[in-house]
Every structure is written in structure tokens, then in C-alpha cells.
């Protein structure tokens, strides 16, 4: 047998041995179709499952960058509540969830909660009625309350200001705790801390403050200290906090016109700005109490 014959025989043998016919070809077809459907289902699952996650992460990054995280979070929780209501048929739970974020809708407050969901999640803002019902007129054009205006702690800015200062304290302790004598005190920080400690009471870890660690809050001293800070550092780092706290202290101490003057820039600032919602709520409450 020649080379050609041997290889031809080999090719013919392979052709005859494997004709392509298989009684189980239908079974193979079924396996193919099932595998294709599984792949499609998996792709759909990945698409449905991961898309919201990616959107959430991207939205979080954007919100953190643009400073509007509380808007996004409010929207997400509201959306989750609505979806929960639709899917699980629990209207009261969903409503409770919605109310947790929109308390003023039921309480009739004038706070613009859609613009500031962060404040809506705290206790309802209110000016205590007894204090507002006896309005002595201090000036011709403004009707002012008789006594100091009592304000909730959140409106007083205790939370954010205290947290901010505590973090400054902590940073100072981290930075210079071991060798405090080597670092020159920041005069602006010293001035603001003096005012802050007078306002909220000394925190006990401010070595360069004039107050003793156990000093109690003193509104009049705090107002003087804030005014001093604002005059000494008109472009300082803590000017917004100082002006806001000063405005609230002035309201509490019956200086309604001055307090209103200090708070109005905050209330008129764009929605979502620093203390905008709180200042607006206070001023609206004052207007309502006239």
C-alpha cells in the first residue's frame, strides 16, 4: 500500500467512524437551550442586582463630593419606604418611615423639610409658646418676646459646634499632646474657644482657655466673647458658627432685633446651606408669634 493509499484509508476510516449522527442529539440540544437560559437568567440577575449598587456607590461619591449627601440619603430612604409599601403592603410601616423623615408635614411646621431633610429627622422645632405670648415692644418696628426665647438644643447648634470643637481639641491633642510647649497657640482658636466655652461650658481639656475646667455656661460672657471674636477675626474660620451662636444667644436674652439680624443671612442663604433650615425655622416661629 502506497503512502497515498495509507493516508486515504486513514481519512476514510475517520469519515466512516464519525458520521455526525447521534441518537442523543436531541438531549444535547436540550442541554444547550437550558444552559443558554441559565446564562440569560444569570446576566439578568447581575444586571438587576448590581446596577442599583453601582448607582448607590456612584451617587454616594457624588454626594460626598458635592456636599449634598443628606439630600441623597433622604431620597433613598423615602424611595425604600415607598418600594416597601408597594412590595410588602405595609402602609403603616412605610408611612411611619416617611413621617420619620417628614415630621413637619403632620405637625404643621413651616420648616421646608424637602430642602433640609437632616433637620426633619430631629425633634420638631418649636418656640415655647408661654415665652412668646408676652411680647414687650423693644423697638418701633419689631414685636419682640418678653423674655428670653427658649430654643431646643439642636437649634442652638450645640451638636455641630460642640462636635466641631471637640474634633479640634482632639486634633490638637493628637498633634501636640506630647509636646504642648513647642506649639504656639492659635490666637483665633483661643478666641473662639473662649466664646464657645462660655456658651456651652468649659470642656475641661482646653489648657489655654481663660475659663476654669468646671466653668458653667454664661450667655452674657459668651455674647461678649463672640462679638470680640467677630470683630477681631472678621474673616476667621469660625465666623459662621460664631455669628449663628451669637444670634441665638441674642434671641435667648431678649435682643430679638439683633438676633434676627444675625440669623437672617443664614435663613436667606440657598437651601441646604449651613444652618439655613434651622435659622429659617426660628425666624418663621418668631414671625408666627407676633
Amino acid at each position: 500500500m502506497s503512502e497515498r493509499d495509507l493516508l486515504s484509508r486513514a481519512a476514510r476510516t475517520l469519515r466512516e467512524e464519525h458520521t455526525g449522527q447521534n441518537p442523543g442529539s436531541g438531549f444535547t440540544r436540550g442541554r444547550i437551550m437550558r444552559q443558554l437560559h441559565q446564562k440569560r437568567r444569570k446576566r439578568l440577575f447581575v444586571w438587576v442586582g448590581f446596577s442599583p449598587l453601582v448607582a448607590l456607590i456612584a451617587g454616594s461619591a457624588w454626594a460626598a463630593g458635592s456636599g449634598s449627601w443628606h439630600h441623597v440619603w433622604g431620597g433613598v430612604t423615602h424611595g425604600v419606604a415607598v418600594v416597601g409599601e408597594v412590595l410588602f403592603g405595609a402602609p403603616e410601616r412605610a408611612e411611619a418611615e416617611r413621617d420619620r423623615h417628614l415630621p413637619s408635614a403632620k405637625n404643621g411646621s413651616a420648616v421646608d423639610t424637602s430642602a433640609a431633610p437632616a433637620i426633619a429627622s430631629t425633634a420638631p422645632l418649636a418656640i415655647e409658646p408661654p415665652l412668646l405670648e408676652a411680647p414687650p415692644v423693644l423697638s418701633g418696628e419689631v414685636h419682640e418676646p418678653a423674655g428670653p426665647v427658649a430654643l431646643p438644643n439642636d437649634v442652638l447648634g450645640a451638636g455641630r459646634a460642640a462636635r466641631g470643637l471637640a474634633s479640634v481639641h482632639a486634633q490638637r491633642h493628637r498633634d501636640g499632646g506630647a509636646k504642648p510647649a513647642l506649639r504656639a497657640p492659635d490666637p483665633e482658636l483661643v478666641e473662639f474657644r473662649r466664646a464657645h466655652d462660655a456658651h456651652f461650658g468649659a470642656t475641661g481639656h482646653s489648657p489655654d482657655t481663660a475659663l476654669s475646667p468646671s466653668a458653667a455656661p454664661s450667655p452674657s460672657a459668651a455674647m461678649r466673647a463672640y462679638e470680640h471674636y467677630l470683630s477681631a477675626f472678621p474673616n476667621g474660620r469660625f465666623v459662621p458658627e460664631a455669628r449663628y451662636n451669637l444670634g441665638l444667644l441674642q434671641l435667648q436674652n431678649g435682643q430679638v432685633a439683633a438676633g434676627r439680624k444675625n440669623l437672617e443671612p443664614f435663613a436667606q442663604a440657598p437651601s441646604g446651606s449651613y444652618r439655613q433650615a434651622q435659622a429659617k425655622a426660628v425666624l418663621d416661629a418668631l414671625d408666627a408669634a407676633r
Binding site: M1, A10, T13, G20, Q21, I32, L36
Partner: protein
């Protein structure tokens, strides 16, 4: 009934004819979109040819069946590289070649194991001597094929067994024509030597 009448009658009874190119393009488009029904349709049209080629290349029916399944499942994605300059069957044959490496290795390992333990079944036939000689030649051929590199094995199966020209084989395997000729030359030479070494002349 005259011839022309019969012809007109049969034409009228037939469904409207779809041009082959148009039909192929439609199936290809549906395959590209990943429609499961299109994959089923392509399987119905080409499974025998694809299975035969896969079995001849791999040399093992069960593994060839798995290879066919893998190829048709991967077909919608693989069609992304289909330019339409060859038939769908040739393209699927190329996909078989691309997916065959793992299966050829598995089949070769399996044959080695069966040879070692002499478990290869012998078919019953009316002429046992002819059947035994055929079986002996087939096993020697498979061993010789297992000794070839995959490229040369593909060249031999596509050109010698399937009967494609070197140009067609080059298009199917995605290699230059001269390369395919070279691979085929070496494949034939090695197969000849291996079969002669087994005692076949």
C-alpha cells in the same frame, strides 16, 4: 397535465422562497442578538456536520458531544467576530477548532488510560477478523493523531478528512494558506511514519 402546468402548480403550493443569503443574514443577526431560538435553529441546521467534525478531530464521541454543546452555547458571543465572508457552517467549524484544545487533550489522556488497561470495547460483527483489523487500524490511527500537534491535526482533519481545499482550510482555521499547506505536509508525514511503525503499510 403538461410539464409546465405541473411546474406552475408545484410552485404555487410552495411557501414563498426566502433567498439563502437573506435567510442566513437573518439567522446570523438573531444569533448575534443572543436569541435562544436562533441557537436552536442553527443547531438543527448544522449539528450533524459540526458533530462529525468534532468527533473526527477529537476522536471520542462523548467528548465531541460536550464540545458541540460548548460551541453552540458560545456561538452568540463568538459571532461578534463573524464578518460574513464565509458560510455559517465554516464559521462554526472555526469555533470548534478554537474550543478543541482542551477536549483533544482529554481524549488523548482517556485513550492512553484505556490502552493501559485494555478496556477499549471491540464491536461484534459478522466478520470478526475484518472488524478486529478495522478496530486495530482505528486505534493505531488515533494514537498517531494524538502524537500530532493540534495545528497539524486540524490541518489533516479539515483537508484530508473533511475534503476542504487549503484555501478553505486556511479561512476556517484563521491561518495563512501557505501555513496550512506546511502543517498538512508535516501531519501527513508524521501520520505515515506512525502508522508504518504500527505495522500498517
Amino acid at each position: 397535465m403538461t410539464w409546465s402546468t405541473t411546474n406552475r402548480f408545484s410552485s404555487a403550493m410552495q411557501a414563498p422562497e426566502v433567498p439563502f443569503e437573506e435567510e442566513r443574514d437573518d439567522l446570523t443577526d438573531r444569533l448575534r442578538r443572543g436569541e435562544a431560538s436562533a441557537v436552536g435553529e442553527a443547531y438543527d441546521l448544522h449539528h450533524e456536520a459540526v458533530r462529525a467534525f468534532a468527533a473526527r478531530l477529537v476522536g471520542d464521541r462523548e467528548l465531541a458531544e460536550d464540545l458541540v454543546q460548548e460551541v453552540f452555547v458560545a456561538l452568540p458571543r463568538a459571532l461578534g467576530g463573524f464578518r460574513g465572508d464565509s458560510s455559517l457552517r465554516s464559521f462554526i467549524t472555526g469555533v470548534v477548532i478554537n474550543h478543541a484544545r482542551h477536549f483533544v487533550r482529554s481524549a488523548a489522556r482517556r485513550r492512553k488510560t484505556l490502552d493501559r488497561f485494555a478496556l477499549e470495547p471491540t464491536p461484534s460483527a459478522a466478520r470478526p477478523d475484518v472488524a478486529a483489523e478495522h478496530q486495530s487500524f482505528l486505534m493505531a490511527l488515533q494514537r498517531a493523531m494524538d502524537g500530532l500537534p493540534l495545528d497539524q491535526r486540524v490541518a489533516f482533519v479539515v483537508c484530508e478528512v473533511e475534503g476542504h481545499s487549503a484555501a478553505e482550510a486556511a479561512a476556517i482555521a484563521g491561518a495563512p494558506e501557505a501555513t496550512m499547506r506546511t502543517r498538512l505536509f508535516h501531519a501527513r508525514k508524521k501520520l505515515q511514519a506512525a502508522l508504518e511503525a504500527e505495522g500498517f503499510r
